[in-house]
Each structure stands twice: as C-alpha cells, then as structure tokens.
C-alpha cells in the first residue's frame, strides 16, 4: 500500500478510454462497477468534449456478484454492438472487475461478432494510464494490421515516393484525447511538414477510424509525436512494415530545427528553404534587452517525459534559465530522463508521489515551476510563479484559442506562457521596492480612494499583503526558534522579492545557526547574502 493525496495518472483503463475517445467508429466495453463511469467527466467536463466517450460500462453492483457477472458482460457487449455498430470493439476491465476474473475479452471473442474484437489486458494494480493508452493503441494497430503484406519499396521513403511519382507522406502518431494541446500540435506539425513538401498521410489515434489504421503502412514513415502513447507502436511498425520513424519531438526552436532536418533526411528533401522561412519570435525576444532579467532564473521542471525533456532544452538553450531540478511521473522513460539530468548536473526525480515533488520544490525554492496541474497547486501554495507544460491538465488547459506547443508557433506560445508569470513576479518586485512609497503603502489610507472604512491599521495591512506572503507568514517552518529575527532585519527581509525571500530566509538562518548567532540583524542578512552569493 502507498499513501497518496493526488495522482498524476489514472489507472490503465483510463488510458484505454483515451484511445477510444480519440478515435471514430471504435467502442470500448468496460467491465466495471457503477462508480467507474466518473471517467466520462474527464472528457466531457475537462476537455469540454461535446460527445460522451464511446464507452459502455457493465455497472455491476453487489447483488450481481453472487450471480453471473459474466452474463452481464455478454449482455452489455451484445447491446453495445447492436446500438453503436462500431468498426472495431475494444474490451477491457477496471480494477474491481480484474479481481473477478470474468475475462470479458475472451467472452467477447467467443460471441461471433463480425467486427474485429480487441481484448485488452490492463493490469490495474501494477500499471497506469499512459501505459494503458500506449498498450491499447499498440494492440489495436497490431490486431488490425497483423498478417498484412509489407508494401513494395518500404524502408526507403525517398526512393519509394519518387518511384510512385508523389510527395513523401508521413503518419502522425500519438495525439490523444486529454493530451496536452494535441489538437493544435497536429495542425502546426502538418504546416511544418508542408514546408518540406511532405504530406500527412493520417493522424492516429486522434480522429482516425479502424479503417484508417489499416492504411498506416501506405505512408513512407512515422512521426512519433507523443512517445508516451506511440513509442511502442512505432517500434512495432518499423519491425513489421520497415517504416522508419522520426525520434525528435519538435517542441522548442532547436528541436523544431532538428525535427525538420531529420524529416528532410528521411524524405530526401532539402531542409534549407523550410528552415529559412521559419517564423518564430522566440530567438529575438530572448535576445532583446528586456529579457536580460531572465538570465539564470532557477527553474524546476516536472511532467510527462516528452514535455519535460523538451522543456529542459528550451529553458537552458533558448531562455537562458538554470534548470535546478527535473523529474517525471513517466517511469517508462526514466532512463532517458536520468541521463539528461546527469548531463546537466542534477538528479532526476522519477516518482508519482505528489508529496515528494512538493518536498523537492519547497527545498529548491526555484523562481519558476514548469509542471502539471499538481505543480500549479504546489507552486501556488509556495508563492512561486508557475506555468503548465504537461498533462494531467484541467479545463483551463484546453484553451479556445490556437495554442500549440510544437513547431515555431509553439515556441512563440511557450515564450509567452513561461515568461508572463515571471513578469508578474517582476511587477510584484517593483511594488515591493516601492513599498514605502505612499502610493503603495498598505498601511496608509490612500488620498484618492474614497474613505476605505475596511482598511483599519492592522486589518488593512493584512488585506493588502499579497496572498503568497500571507501563506508564507503562516508557514510553520519559518525558522527554528533558536534563531530570532531582529525587527529591522525582518523589515529588510520583506524588501527582498517574494520569490527569493523564502530562500533568503532559510540561507540566513542556516548561516546564523552554523556560526552560533542567536539574533539576526540587518548586517547578518547581508553577510549571509555575500556568503552564499546568488
């Protein structure tokens, strides 16, 4: 058993639902008790999907357990096929049904449906959501393509396209429902490929039907856009159909350039015109003097492996940040993440324990957190600016506007998304600097405002203090009792921008403790500052 408060990933059957919900003409029957239908709201409320996911539940209850739950499965299977007439049927079970061992997949296979039936093994007590999605996609592609012939000329995309007198074409694999900005990434990558003279053959699983999946081998190569979902499928397709696949995920300016070069090499295209017409403001905005303050910002990055690895490169090479910590809940890619972390001299935090991530953020006290919804909560509580870069996501991460992460436009979006929270920080800093100015002093009753009765001497000050500062004041670990802050030193500390104040407080207290200093004066603060540098 493991104690958890929040979780980054759902169980593996949620991954299977994501594949089903991404596609057309597929239906998933889940052997699951009543409560499991909560998962529908992930799609209809978080992603605002206008349709229910194509999932039917057996909804068994206690009174069914004594009887024949297998019969319940068969009934639901028959009803589902008759009602929805899918091209392919996925059959799986949620955690409780797994314990019943009804084997719904085997039951479905024996029912003589005239459509492909794909039984899914989704071990709920050992695996998680991304694995479930990857496995479901892989099994679906596998069972629809098994035994099909390898197309002529496969394995040599450039010559094959030329021989057939057409532009090279690629499959975009991996975008799913509930993924991070998948819809916009697909549009952006499609445009990007067009600049190289490469066509998109099909996109899967998002928007594809089983009939589309059968056409996968007709493409010259595959793009593995979201390795968490498509990596194992790409490897299988390469082995079975000699389809090469592109490793680079085009998130960030550098990665997008590398991506274009890799695709051009496979397609036998000249990358130069495409590179020359690249439109992105990120490199110039990063160079502009306005961005000087971004130099060496200490950033902590956590999320799925793909977005974290991309974010590390952007942070370091394109924005000039220091990555002080990184990690992921994607255990499947732990090796790659550890290698990357070692390269930049930090240790990768591979965990799905939200509390462990929180502890590390509190310890490192970075100036910016790039993470998931969970890190947004953590950062909010610690008073640190934050931007969301990865699933798990919330309704606000499905913006109405066009906001890709991939390609050159994606780089623009990322620049804005990451830099704005820091600019808010800068603004707070300026307000703090001018704290003694009558315009900004919370204790003063402003002359221009109407008589603010609610601004009492103490209550007013409290009301005017930003939320994160109150949070900090409440925080219990504000220094062990043996070191005391003298009043002027405490005042001086408050002049330090809030996003480094916690760190300054801790450093100063450690400095004092190590030297046996009992009371911290203004000088102690500055001595500690000089000692630790920045």
């Amino acid at each position: 058993m493991e104690l958890t408060v929040w979780t980054y990933e759902g169980p593996p059957h949620i991954g299977a639902m994501r594949i089903a919900a991404s596609m057309d003409a597929v239906h998933l029957v889940l052997h699951a008790p009543l409560g499991d239908s909560y998962a529908d709201l992930l799609f209809t409320m978080i992603a605002r999907s206008p349709a229910r996911p194509p999932v039917s539940y057996t909804s068994f209850q206690a009174r069914d357990l004594g009887g024949d739950t297998a019969q319940l499965v068969k009934t639901r299977l028959a009803e589902t096929v008759a009602r929805f007439k899918p091209q392919a049927l996925l059959v799986g079970e949620a955690c409780t049904a797994e314990l019943l061992q009804d084997q719904p997949g085997a039951l479905a296979t024996g029912m003589g449906f005239d459509i492909p039936v794909i039984p899914l093994e989704l071990p709920a007590f050992t695996r998680k959501e991304s694995w479930g999605a990857s496995e479901t996609f892989h099994q679906l592609v596998r069972s629809l393509l098994s035994g099909r012939p390898v197309p002529e000329g496969a394995g040599d995309p450039a010559s094959r396209a030329k021989a057939e007198g057409r532009r090279p074409r690629a499959n975009l694999l991996g975008p799913t429902a509930l993924g991070f900005r998948c819809r916009d990434d697909v549009a952006e990558v499609t445009k990007l490929l067009d600049t190289l003279g490469v066509d998109v053959h099909l996109v899967a699983p998002a928007g594809a039907t089983p009939a589309d999946l059968v056409r996968i081998p007709e493409a010259d190569f595959n793009l593995c856009l979201y390795p968490e979902i498509a990596h194992s499928t790409c490897i299988w397709l390469e082995r079975m159909f000699k389809q090469p696949w592109v490793r680079t995920v085009p998130i960030g300016v550098g990665a997008t350039r590398d991506f274009l070069l890799e695709v051009a090499r496979l397609a036998g295209a000249d990358p130069e015109p495409a590179l020359a017409q690249a439109r992105t403001r990120l490199p110039w905005f990063s160079r502009s003097v306005d961005s000087t303050y971004l130099t060496g910002k200490r950033v902590f990055i956590f999320g799925d492996a793909t977005h974290v690895m991309a974010a590390v490169r952007i942070a370091r090479e394109e924005l000039g940040f220091d990555v002080v910590g990184l990690g992921s809940y994607s255990r499947e890619f732990a090796r790659e993440l550890r290698a990357l972390a070692e390269e930049i001299g930090v240790e990768a935090l591979i965990t799905d324990d939200y509390l462990a991530v929180e502890a590390q953020v509190a310890e490192l006290h970075p100036e910016l957190v790039l993470g998931t919804q969970m890190e947004r909560h953590i950062a909010k509580r610690l008073g640190i600016p934050c931007a969301v870069i990865s699933s798990p996501v919330h309704v606000q991460d499905f913006p109405a506007r066009y906001a890709p992460q991939m390609g050159f436009e994606g780089a623009n979006v990322i620049f804005d998304t990451w830099v704005h929270p820091l600019m808010m920080g800068l603004e707070e800093h300026l307000i703090t600097m001018f704290r003694e100015d009558i315009e900004f002093d919370d204790g003063q009753v402003p002359k221009r405002r109407p008589q603010a009765a609610e601004v009492s001497a103490t209550g007013g000050a409290e009301a005017g203090v930003p939320e994160h500062e109150r949070a900090e004041a409440r925080a219990p670990a504000a220094g062990e009792s043996e070191v005391r802050w003298e009043t002027d030193a405490e005042k001086e500390l408050r002049k330090i921008p809030f996003f480094v104040r916690g760190k300054a407080r801790r450093n100063t207290e450690n400095f004092a403790r190590e030297r046996g200093i009992k009371v911290i004066y203004v000088d102690t603060l500055y001595e500690a500052k000089a000692h630790f540098g920045r």
């Binding site: 493991e2 104690l3 408060v5 990933e9 008790p33 409560g35 709201l41 209809t44 998680k128």
Partner: protein
C-alpha cells in the same frame, strides 16, 4: 438481442403505498458517482476528521476528478493504494494498512477521527476494515477514534456514502440521559443553514438541538429514547434505522426544500414536540413572506417549463415536488437512484398524480426517452451535461444541488435560481 439479464423494466403499483404512482424499475448501465464522493463534502463538514480510502488508483483518480483538482490546501482525505503485493495475501494487506495509518497519523497530528473507507476492490478481496478499525483503535488508543464504512460503488451510489458514514458513527453516540429529550437533525447541511434552523427552533422553544454529522467529529450528539429525529437529507435511511434501534423516534415529514417543504418540515417537528401550530405560523411568518417575495421572480421564469431528472443524488423527488408545486413546472421523467420509502412517503404524497418515477437506471434507453421528450431543462450528472447541451438540451448539474445551500426559507429562491439560470443563459446567447 435475446439477453435481458441486466436490462429489465417493469411497471409496478406497490401495494400499501400512500401514492399510486406507477414506478418503472430499471437495471442496466449507470451514470452516477459512487459513495466515495461523499467524502468531498464530509471532510469539509467535519474538520477534525480524515478519510482514508482503502482502494485502487481508480478510487484516487475518481476522488481527484470529483473534487475537480480544485482544493488548494491538502485535503483531509487520501488513498491507501492497493498494489499487487497487497492482493497476494490478506495478512500482508492488514500489515500494510497498519503501516499507512501509522505514517498518516504521524504526518497529520490534527486528525481526531479517522475513517477507513471501503471501496469496490477492498470489498471484493474481502479486506475487513471494520476489524482493522477496531485493531487500529486499540493500538492508537486515546489518540484518535478510528471507524470504518463503505463508500464502494458495489453498495452505494453518490450521496449514499454519507449514509454509510453516519451509520458508522451511530454506535459511538453517547447515550441521552433517561427522561431527557432532544431533537436530532440528520444529514449534512451547510453551516449557514444549520444556524438558520437553530434560530427558528430556539424561537419555538425546541431543544436541545443537535446535528448529525456534527461540525467536529469529536462532538458526537447524544441519542436515546428521548430523541426525536428529523431527516434533513433524503439519503440517510440506514442511519435513521440505526438511530431508531437506539430508541429514537422518527418524525415523518417532507424535506425542507422550498417554502412549502420547509414549512411542513418545521410543523412536523413542532407537532412531535407538542408546540402549538399557531406559534409555528407566527415564528415563520417573516422568513416565509420574505421567501415568497424572492421566489416570485423565478416562478415567473420557470412556470410552465418542463423538467426531467436523471438519477443522481436522491434529491430528485423533493426537488421535483418543489419545482412542480412552488414554481409551476411540469415534471417529465423523474429518475431516482433508488426509492427509499422509509423517508420518501411524505414526499410521494405531494407529487403530481401523473408523475413518471423511474428507479435505478438503464442509461441508453433512458436517454432515448429524454431525447424524444426534449424537456426544457434536464438535471443530470457531470458526465452527461455537456453532451446533452451539445444535443440542444438545457441542463443543470445535479452535483451543484448537493454542494449549494438550498434548504430552508432563505434558500428557496436560491434553489429556484439554480434552475432559472441555465434557461436564462440559453435565452441570452445569440447562437
């Protein structure tokens, strides 16, 4: 289709019922939260308690989705995730649970009452949490109270989890001294609503007054033969039964939703207490008049509109009664997760004679009936709301009716407003 093992519909006229409403009973695919979701409001209500769900990753994910990942502070609930090695041998699972509870209590010294919450997987592997709670209570004696109940989707639907939780508290309630009497209001209410009712009962001279659940789990109300019970929520049937076994008397009444419901609820208590009805009318005159004024505006907007309920929270019947009788709405299909006659008889008597009640659910046929009928507003769960909106149906999230203070005179108009708003919005939007 030859198999009808899961889906069956029968029309029955239950014998001995005070109403002759035809009831359609359905079994099939369900769209409702399980009883674990009750934790989302119970942990806010009893702030010295902690809810440890003993279940799977699905349970943790479900709690997170139901709570909308919107709770900033660390919530007073968590999940002890069952893993493969816990399933291998049960003795092992018990040791593991003891360890997790030890860790939790060390981390959260503020916990006064710890609820171990059983789930579908913990029940299927027959992990006995009642025994575990007793064992843990022994080893942490004096420090915390440890109780167990089931929020499993095998036994409970959405709000029913509160019933099983409160039922677990009943054996621990202190004994009300003989010859004393008290009023116990059962079912969680918003603090503001509790306070309003308390003021009214004070004026009527009814007391001592207690609420179950209490605001602090440690402040358990007494119960005994002198206790009069009144249900504030329609999903507390098992708790009421357990309290009656301890000698308490149930006051039958409609639920305090809307002006008529609140009035009837207060009158029923007063009658049981021996308070003159004239005094009740005098005490409630001002709030009832206030409520009338506030409600009139919404009655105008709602009158004549048709409303259907899909089964969700058990609030469907009293809400349907309020919308039909006080807002002039017409009831389409009224779906309930289950029909609890112990508490629902006074409500059934107030429903329009032609009301079509459905107990249980077989989702797809029910949606087909809904599409054929196309009511002006449909009350349904979160998974269905947006898809139905996309089909052009106006919806109201059932869950909001559980979280919003809607009971009592001063909330009657707020309750009507919850139904008027989606209609209002649809009217405003140009496309």
């Amino acid at each position: 289709m030859t198999e009808t093992a899961s889906s069956s519909s029968t029309t029955a006229h239950p014998a001995g019922s005070s109403s002759a409403l035809p009831i359609r009973q359905e079994r099939g695919e369900r769209q409702a939260f399980c009883g674990l979701s009750g934790i989302v409001w119970l942990h806010r209500k009893m702030q010295d308690s902690f809810f440890l769900v003993v279940g799977s990753r699905t349970c943790a994910h479900m709690m997170q989705s139901a709570a909308g990942v919107m709770i900033f502070a660390e919530p007073r609930f968590g999940t002890a995730l069952l893993q493969d090695r816990d399933l291998a041998g049960l003795a092992d699972a018990n040791d593991e649970l003891d360890r997790v509870v030890r860790e939790l209590l060390a981390r959260r010294p503020d916990i006064g009452t710890l609820f171990l919450v059983a789930t579908c997987p913990s029940e299927v592997i027959k992990l006995d949490l009642d025994t575990a709670a007793a064992r843990l209570q022994q080893s942490h004696n004096g420090r915390v109270r440890i109780l167990a109940y089931s929020g499993s989707g095998l036994d409970t639907s959405f709000t029913q989890g509160e019933d099983t939780c409160l039922q677990a508290l009943v054996p621990h309630l202190p004994e009300l001294p003989a010859m004393e009497r008290s009023l116990l209001v059962v079912g969680s209410l918003a603090d503001v609503v509790e306070d309003q009712f308390k003021r009214l009962f004070d004026k009527l001279g009814i007391g001592p007054l207690h609420f179950l659940p209490p605001r602090r789990a440690a402040d358990l109300p007494p119960v005994g033969p002198g206790t009069f019970l009144i249900a504030a929520q329609p999903f507390v049937g098992e708790t009421i039964d357990a309290l009656r076994e301890r000698g308490a008397h149930l006051i039958a009444a409609p639920f305090p939703l809307g002006i008529q419901g609140t009035r009837a609820w207060l009158h029923a208590v007063a009658a049981a207490w021996g308070v003159a009805p004239e005094l009740v009318d005098e005490v409630i005159a001002a709030p009832a008049a206030r409520a009338e004024t506030a409600l009139a505006r919404y009655r105008e907007q709602l009158s004549g509109k048709r409303v259907s309920f899909l089964p969700d929270s058990q609030l469907e019947i009293p809400l349907g009664r309020f919308l039909a009788r006080e807002c002039g709405m017409q009831l389409g299909e009224l779906g309930v997760p289950y029909l609890d006659r112990r508490l629902m008889e006074p409500e059934l008597a107030l429903l329009p004679a032609n009301t079509r009640l459905t107990e249980g659910q077989d989702l797809e046929p029910q949606l087909e009936r809904l599409r054929a009928e196309r009511p002006d507003i449909t009350v349904c769960g979160l998974g269905l709301a947006n898809p139905l909106e996309a089909e052009g149906l106006t919806t109201k999230w059932a869950i909001e009716l559980v979280f919003t203070p809607i009971q009592g005179f001063d909330q009657a108009a707020d309750l009507a407003e919850l139904f008027a708003r989606p209609l209002n919005r649809r009217q405003r939007l140009g496309f």
